[in-house]
């Protein structure tokens, strides 16, 4: 009984800040005063009229799309190599591909800041893409790797014996069978890239402020409900992506 009430309280605490953001985003006042029952879309209009947020949103979409696509492509090839062949150093290579998970964002961000500057790539889009590929590759690799291992190799052999080349088999048989794992990998990679704050804040230049960085900078300056509207939309967006991921089973390895 005590445990049940405690669980409710904790669950409420988990959701409280998020619920409050959504609530605030629909009120007309510049300050959040309780109790409030008025409804307004004023801050959503403000959010869309402030070009900084829109540009940052588009940049974040582009960055997450490009890096997740490249990372997923590389991860698919790597997973195929790791699962379908046996070669020396395979275990070490697999560990290397997962190792970005072990390095804290602050550490990698500092390293990238100095590296990107020494190469003259500071304040460029592709510097961010490079960093994001490294950050999201483990998330893309895991579901694809698991799916490839679960799929019997017989189908590929069948295609080969019927005369398909290795490339053709890879494209027309292996890839479609793994589509679900590839999609999970891509969506997870996209989500992680879109949410990345720490590494970007250390290495990015003024011309490339992703949406979370724009919000961060806005918050260190002032607090008004425009951020609430943006944040509420971000919460909605993650909700949609999570529901899709849940449907295709992409969250299952994480929940186990």
């Amino acid at each position: 009984m005590i445990l049940r009430v405690f669980n409710w309280v904790m669950a409420a605490v988990m959701l409280a800040p998020l619920v409050l953001i959504v609530w605030m985003s629909f009120t007309p006042a510049a300050f959040f005063r309780l109790p409030t029952t008025e409804f307004s879309l004023r801050w959503y209009r403000e959010a869309f009229n402030y070009p900084g947020f829109l540009n940052s949103f588009l940049l974040s979409l582009r960055l997450a799309g490009v890096s997740a696509a490249i990372a997923t492509f590389l991860a698919f090839l790597a997973a195929y190599g790791l699962v379908r062949f046996r070669f020396p150093g395979k275990g070490a290579l697999e560990a290397f591909f997962m190792s970005p998970l072990l390095v804290p964002g602050v550490v990698y961000g500092i390293a990238m800041l100095q590296f990107v500057n020494s190469l003259g790539l500071y304040n460029t889009f592709w510097a961010l893409v490079l960093a994001h590929i490294a950050i999201v590759v483990p998330y893309a690799l895991r579901p694809i790797h698991a799916q490839l291992r679960a799929v019997p190799e017989d189908l590929e052999w069948a295609a080969r014996t019927l005369g398909a080349t290795r490339t053709r088999t890879l494209l027309r048989v292996t890839f479609p069978i793994c589509a679900r794992g590839v999609l999970s990998g891509f969506l997870l990679a996209f989500l992680i890239s879109f949410a990345e704050v720490t590494v970007v804040i250390f290495m990015t230049g003024p011309a490339y402020q992703t949406l979370p960085i724009r919000i961060y900078n806005y918050l260190t300056d002032q607090i008004d409900p425009t951020v609430a509207a943006i944040s509420a939309m971000l919460i909605g967006l993650s909700l949609v992506l999570i529901l899709i991921l849940d449907r295709i089973g992409g969250l299952r390895p994480a929940a186990k």
Binding site: L18, R33, Y80, L102, Q114, A131, A134, L191, I201, L219
Partner: protein, 299 residues
């Protein structure tokens, strides 16, 4: 792994064929991940001068500087705050996990998703949500004033309290999830046997449940502590310059003072500490899985 691997090579596939698949990712990670980390490590052994990094001489002065009282003090605060968060999370997550494992599979999935939401929402958004609750005219202070409990606002953020609340919320799932997994893997016969031998509720928990889930709890706590130590956005927004932690200081050193050798030394130190802790957590977890499984009981 399976016999088919051998057949691929038996069919005369070229030796270099696997390289075609694994090398592209290997090269990208070597260039974009390993090299920057190596480069930064090298920078940490060069002195910092007015003109920039002096690459002609080697020194340990950057590491020696980390022991200065100013830096050591901030490191101490970071450790203290991280430890408070970890202990608080342990105390809060255990009862929750105990309650959740008793629910139906649907109920378990539902609550796990709720506890997972903070992890799925952007860290900056979370910090903003907390500032709505904790700020001087935030919801908590407004409510307490309206109820007449306090006269002036309490300071709940832009200090260590704010960091503790934000991190406990943000990293809760990393303790809850392994704990839940360990508890749901527990053989119910063990509790039944203990009860049969005369143990009561609290005794069963203390003598049976807790020892058997301790490795999972410890592994989760170490991961939680590691993440607290290296968190950036939450302590920066809810703690700020009044409660500087190591990552915030590293930001100032690298981007305000532009002292990259010192900044790199801080990064190397943080990397070493977190790798050590992760290794410790993996060891604890594997020690647990060896001990929890009763001999001969596994299929």
């Amino acid at each position: 792994m399976s016999g088919t691997d051998a057949t691929i090579q038996g069919q005369g596939a070229a030796r270099w064929l696997p390289a075609v698949f694994v090398l592209p990712l290997g090269i990208v990670l070597a260039l974009g991940f390993l090299w920057p980390l190596f480069d930064g490590t090298v920078n940490s052994f060069h002195p910092f001068t007015r003109a920039g990094i002096d690459r002609s001489t080697w020194t340990l002065e950057n590491y020696a500087k980390l022991a200065d009282s100013f830096y050591a003090g901030i490191l101490w605060r970071t450790i203290r705050v991280s430890l408070i968060v970890t202990l608080l999370t342990a105390a809060l997550a255990y009862p929750v996990a105990l309650y959740i494992v008793g629910l139906s599979p649907r109920g378990q999935a539902f609550y796990l998703l709720i506890y997972m939401t903070p992890w799925l929402v952007n860290v900056v958004v979370k910090a903003f949500g907390w500032s709505l609750l904790l700020s001087a005219n935030g919801v908590i202070n407004q409510s307490l004033k309206a109820l007449g409990i306090i006269e002036t606002s309490m300071r709940l953020m832009l200090n260590e309290t704010g960091i503790v609340i934000g991190l406990t919320h943000g990293h809760f799932i990393f303790v809850l999830l392994p704990l839940w997994a360990a508890l749901s893997g527990l053989d119910p016969n063990l509790r039944w046997a203990a009860a049969n031998l005369g143990a009561r509720g609290w005794d069963i928990f203390r003598r049976v449940t807790l020892p058997l889930t301790l490795p999972a709890l410890m592994a989760g706590l170490i991961i939680n502590f590691t993440m607290n130590m290296t968190a950036f956005a939450t302590p920066a927004l809810l703690g700020g310059a009044r409660a500087r932690v190591v990552s915030f200081l590293a930001y100032e050193v690298n981007l305000v003072e532009l002292n990259w050798p010192l900044g790199s030394a801080m990064a190397v130190a943080m990397l070493a500490i977190s790798l050590l802790l992760i290794w410790l957590s993996l060891r604890t977890a594997s020690f647990g899985s060896r001990r929890v499984r009763p001999e001969g009981a596994s299929p």
